[in-house]
C-alpha cells in the first residue's frame, strides 16, 4: 500500500466516524416521532434529526468518493455490519426520557458546533469546509434548543430536576470519547483534513459549565469513562438500532422510492 492510498483510507475512515455520529444520533431522534411530549417538540426533534441525517448523507457521499470503490451513501449507511460503524457511544445511547434525550443533544452539539467551525476555517478539503459551514449553523441551533431545555428541566420542578440529574449521572461518562482521536483521526489531523478534538475541550467545558450553573446541575466526577465506539465496540442497544435502521435495505436490497 503506497502513501497516497494510506492517506485515502484513513481519510475515508475519519469521515465515516463523523458520518456515523450524525446518522446514529439522527436515527435516535427519529425514534421520538409520534412520541414527543408536545407537538412543538415533536417537530423540533424531527427537525434536529433531519439536520443530522442531512449531514450524514453529505459525509457518506464524500467518504464514498474518497474511497473510490463505488459505494453510495446508502451502501455506507445501510449495508455495513455493526463493528464497521465508528460512531461514539454517546450518540447510540437509548433515548430514555426527554431529559436524557435533551442532555445527550446538549453534550453532542456543544462539541460539534465548535468542531464544524474549526473544519470550516481550517480543513484543506473544500467539500468538508462546505459541509461544515452549513452544519455549524444547524448545531448552533441544536445547542441553543437543548441548552434551554436542560436549564428549564434542571431548574424546574422537583421531578424534572431529579430526572435531569439522573440523565447527567447516566450520560456524562460517555462524553470523554468525543475528545479522543482514533488512529484514522490522528492521520487526518496530521494531514490537515480535520481538527484535533482535544483542542475543543476548553470550549466544551465552558459551555457545559455555563448551562449547568443555570440549571443547578453538578458536573459529576467520572471514574470509569466509557469508550469503544471508534473501534467498532458498541453497546448492546446498537444491534437493535441497526436492525430497525437497516431492515428495509436488508429485506428489499437495492430498493428505492
Amino acid at each position: 500500500m503506497d502513501a497516497a492510498t494510506a492517506t485515502q483510507d484513513t481519510a475515508f475512515q475519519a469521515i465515516i466516524e463523523l458520518a456515523d455520529d450524525c446518522l446514529i444520533l439522527g436515527h435516535r431522534l427519529s425514534e421520538w416521532c409520534g412520541h414527543a411530549p408536545v407537538l412543538e417538540e415533536e417537530l423540533a426533534l424531527a427537525n434536529m434529526g433531519l439536520d443530522l441525517l442531512g449531514q450524514a448523507r453529505a459525509l457518506y457521499a464524500h467518504a464514498g468518493e474518497i474511497e473510490g470503490k463505488g459505494r453510495s451513501e446508502d451502501d455506507l449507511a445501510f449495508l455495513r455490519r455493526e463493528r464497521d460503524y465508528r460512531n461514539c457511544l454517546l450518540v447510540e445511547r437509548r433515548n430514555g426520557d426527554f431529559a436524557a434525550t435533551m442532555l445527550r443533544q446538549l453534550y453532542f452539539s456543544a462539541f460539534m458546533q465548535p468542531f464544524w467551525r474549526a473544519v470550516a476555517a481550517s480543513s484543506n478539503d473544500e467539500i468538508l469546509r462546505g459541509i461544515a459551514a452549513k452544519a455549524e449553523k444547524e448545531m448552533a441551533y441544536h445547542l441553543r434548543h437543548s441548552g434551554e431545555w436542560v436549564i428549564r428541566m434542571g431548574d424546574g420542578t422537583e421531578e424534572s430536576a431529579s430526572r435531569m440529574a439522573d440523565a447527567v449521572t447516566e450520560l456524562h461518562r460517555y462524553t470523554g470519547e468525543l475528545f479522543l482521536a482514533s488512529p484514522a483521526r490522528a492521520d487526518a489531523i496530521a494531514a490537515g483534513l480535520l481538527p484535533d478534538p482535544d483542542s475543543l475541550r476548553t470550549e466544551w467545558d465552558r459551555t457545559i459549565a455555563s448551562v449547568f450553573a443555570a440549571a443547578h446541575l453538578t458536573i459529576p466526577e467520572v471514574r470509569v469513562p466509557q469508550k469503544g465506539g471508534r473501534d467498532g465496540r458498541h453497546g448492546e442497544d446498537m444491534g437493535h438500532l441497526l436492525a430497525e435502521l437497516q431492515f428495509m435495505q436488508r429485506a428489499y436490497p437495492g430498493m428505492s422510492w
Binding site: 408536545v38 407537538l39 417537530l43 427537525n47 434551554e148 431545555w149
Partner: protein, 96 residues
C-alpha cells in the same frame, strides 16, 4: 391536560421578507418567550417562511367584542368617501 394548564398559549407572528409586516400565522404552547420563539421556528418556519418572528402571550391580547360588532364597524360602511377611489391615478404610478 397538565401541559395545557402549565404551559401558556402564545400567538406567533412571522415576517416573510424584509419590508413586509409581521403576520399572524398561528399559536403554540411554550413555557416562556425564549421557548416560544424556538417552537415557532420549528413549527412555522420549516419551509423558509420567514426571517423574523414575534411571539406574544395570547392572554395579553385584548380582542373586540363580537356582540358589539355593529356599533364598532357598521358606521364605516356608508362612508365611501374614505376610500380614495375618486382620483385619476397616472399610469406611471403603477400599483397602489
Amino acid at each position: 391536560m397538565t401541559t395545557e394548564n402549565l404551559t401558556p398559549l402564545w400567538e406567533v407572528f412571522i415576517r416573510p421578507r424584509n419590508g413586509l409586516h409581521h403576520r399572524h400565522v398561528g399559536s403554540l404552547h411554550a413555557a416562556d418567550s425564549d421557548m416560544a420563539l424556538q417552537a415557532a421556528r420549528d413549527v412555522y418556519t420549516r419551509r423558509g417562511e420567514g426571517n423574523s418572528i414575534w411571539v406574544v402571550r395570547s392572554a395579553e391580547i385584548s380582542a373586540s367584542d363580537p356582540s358589539f360588532a355593529e356599533p364598532m364597524f357598521e358606521p364605516a360602511d356608508d362612508k365611501i368617501y374614505r376610500h380614495p377611489t375618486f382620483y385619476d391615478i397616472p399610469d406611471e404610478v403603477g400599483h397602489m
